[in-house]
Symmetry: C2
Subunit: 414 residues, 2 copies
């Protein structure tokens, strides 16, 4: 089926979903969870085909691990859907409301977007997560997963669609777009009028290509060149713990730190603590000349590309800055607008950093790793927006909605 | 100067604007208003050149009228800026906030977008309005007006820039983009990284071209194919007043009604009232066969193009529908998602119409003409968004902002 035809079906399904009650949507989510568990054997068997294909094409072990499903991971997907069922329904929430001087009643109410397209890579659990979040927020979803996970995704979506239909909602609320065709991505990007918003989740290249070519509005997600700035007034032990956590607790994710900036007043003392600790944690430091001067042969000399890099690995760029202004300027030049952290005991420095650094999230004395829908209490997230339009930072259910103005009068004319 | 160079200057100015206090911004707005009044003679003289050029190229009288400035209109522009100074500052508003279970303090705070590009047609007062709204919301603005108003816009922007600079803010907060070059629009649309959002204001063709070609995020504005649906349970006298107001009070604007739908149970009675009243008001009705059957030779037979048309003139398409479902379906097919109105005494019909019609604004027993930032109490508007992402309906100051998460801890790690 063409993407356009799928888009038309999604639009029809969206009309039914938009007025579905929370009870019906939550029953569908529970049924979706049950269906995943009931079909776990079929899903795991389908996944084995994807894993086999990945092996045959010499895919790296850590990517195969991301791809692999077992009973525990299928249970986790089901549990994720049950958690979404437990979240409040964003649809119908009155965002603002008042009575105008002329007596008109004005309300701004949350409504679904309509049809959401999601383009994502590798991990098949995203299929269930995205389907659940979109359904709860009253949206139909077109899922364009990775071709490497296509057999798994087909089995998952088959189970989800039956459950949605069994709960009295249209099966076309959840559709999988052909992952074997490159054209299907292009068609999604051009499906203006059928798709209301497109969310690319994946590497920088995917996101750039969608942003460049899409006529459907896009929410850009996830590239994170996150900095930890250790201020002159920092508690250096606290700074060390935050740095190690931000860099090493999960280096492959977008909220991991990629760059360290240290105020020159504390550079020698802090680096004397930090460089050995980073080395013990397996981190390679790419330093500017001042860091090299302090750290010696353990520090690799950094290039400007290092300061712009989102390593997603156990690498860290590092520079000594003369003051807070230079730190802010460095972040302005190299940051990706995801998460930036300052460690300081100075109220004035924290205030300036928070005001002047332009990013989705700014941390004071906390690890960059906290920029996360779960940590923020959203219950679930569809991704982390690094753009300024519509949603910025972790996107939960409200970010998957639009609003509508409802105006009630009694024969009012202008 | 190239648009890229202007964008870089705007970005630098935006950094200063983002942390400017409300007092400084309001003083700048008052100075901008004073400068328009002080330079009224120069502005009116510059405008005379535009008017002369328009005359020489046989521009229609009503367009020349829109273009023309006199002392009263310059005063009105200045007054608009003073009103913006009186509005609350959206920047810094805490949208949400809480303390997480682990003690992290979480706040979502409004921040400026950064650099806003506005592409607009004809009327030079938009130049001052847009500059004022962007400055108040802490954004630098790149104004790409119509070439037909270029001399007026230059004089206005010269006055505004001096005033901004005199108030201690960077003059590059307000810049005019070359209106004589078609390339300047293209450069604006491709200035990703320099321009944060582009707002096209004007005809459907301009908006479509920007949406198609821009890699900068766009807020689509303004096309309005607005319907008035007269339900079986309508007070017909109320329906008549609303219809006449919606169609005739200002037919050239996007919130004017373009189409009438009447429930068949009241079609004869209502059209017997409405058709003569519309004729007296100078309105040409383009009716479906049932409307033609009732109205006779005064009704022009409608084509499907009529039902899709945004006339912006004293024309109205009209159809008789068998029930509320058919009215909703007709609006789904032909509506532009701007404003849709129902006239009814039935609570059930109103509730269904409000829930099922997908538009920026839905009116119950009120004229479509109320979809307006001024009427909604926003104090000013930059346009009316008909898209679902970021802003929907009239856009005031908060819609010109993004948000930033501020997270404050005490050495928190994950």
């Amino acid at each position: 089926m063409s993407v356009a035809e799928q888009g038309k079906r999604a639009r029809a399904a969206a009309t039914a979903l938009a007025t579905a009650s929370r009870r019906v949507k939550d029953e569908a989510l529970q049924a979706m969870a049950d269906a995943l568990v009931a079909n776990a054997d079929a899903i795991i068997a389908a996944n084995a085909e994807d894993v086999e294909r990945a092996r045959a094409s010499n895919t790296a072990d850590h990517l195969i691990d991301r791809l692999r499903l077992d009973a525990r991971r299928v249970d986790a997907m089901a549990e994720g859907l049950r958690q979404v069922a437990g979240l409040p329904d964003p649809v119908g929430e009155v965002v603002r409301g008042s009575v105008l001087p002329n007596g008109l009643e004005l309300r701004q109410v949350r409504v679904p977007m309509g049809v959401i397209g999601i383009i994502y890579e590798a991990r098949p659990n995203v299929t269930a997560d995205a389907a659940g979040l979109c359904l709860k927020s009253g949206n139909a979803v077109l899922l364009r997963g990775s071709s490497s996970a296509r057999t798994s995704n087909e089995a998952i979506v088959d189970a989800l669609r039956s459950a949605v239909e069994g709960a009295g909602l249209p099966a076309d609320a959840v559709q999988l777009v052909d992952a074997t065709s490159r054209d299907s991505v292009k068609e999604l990007m051009r499906a203006r009028g059928l798709v209301d918003v497109l969310i690319p989740r994946g590497g920088a290249d995917l996101i750039r290509s969608v942003v460049e070519d899409s006529t459907v509005p896009v929410i850009e997600t996830g590239v994170g060149n996150c900095h930890v700035y250790v201020d002159a007034a920092a508690d250096l032990q606290m700074a060390l713990e935050i740095l190690i956590n931000a860099k090493t607790s999960r280096p492959s994710v977008c909220n991991a730190a990629e760059s360290l900036l240290v105020h020159e007043a504390v550079a020698e003392e802090f680096l004397a603590l930090a460089l050995p600790a980073l080395r013990s944690a397996g981190v390679t430091v790419h330093g500017d000349p001042k860091v090299v001067a302090i750290g010696g042969p353990d520090v690799v000399p950094a290039t400007p590309e290092d300061f712009a890099a989102e390593y997603l690995s156990l690498d860290l760029s590092a520079a000594v800055v003369p003051d807070l202004d230079a730190a802010i300027e460095h972040i302005r030049q190299y940051g990706s607008g995801h998460t930036e952290a300052i460690v300081t005991g100075s109220q004035a420095a924290a205030r300036r950093f928070v005001q002047e650094v332009d990013a989705a999230a700014v941390m004071v004395n906390a690890s960059t790793r906290f920029t996360d829908g779960g940590e923020f209490g959203f219950g679930a997230e569809i991704g982390i927006s690094t753009q300024k339009l519509h949603a910025r930072g972790p996107m939960g259910l409200p970010e998957l909605t639009s609003t509508k103005w409802v105006v009630v009068g009694d024969g009012h004319v202008r």
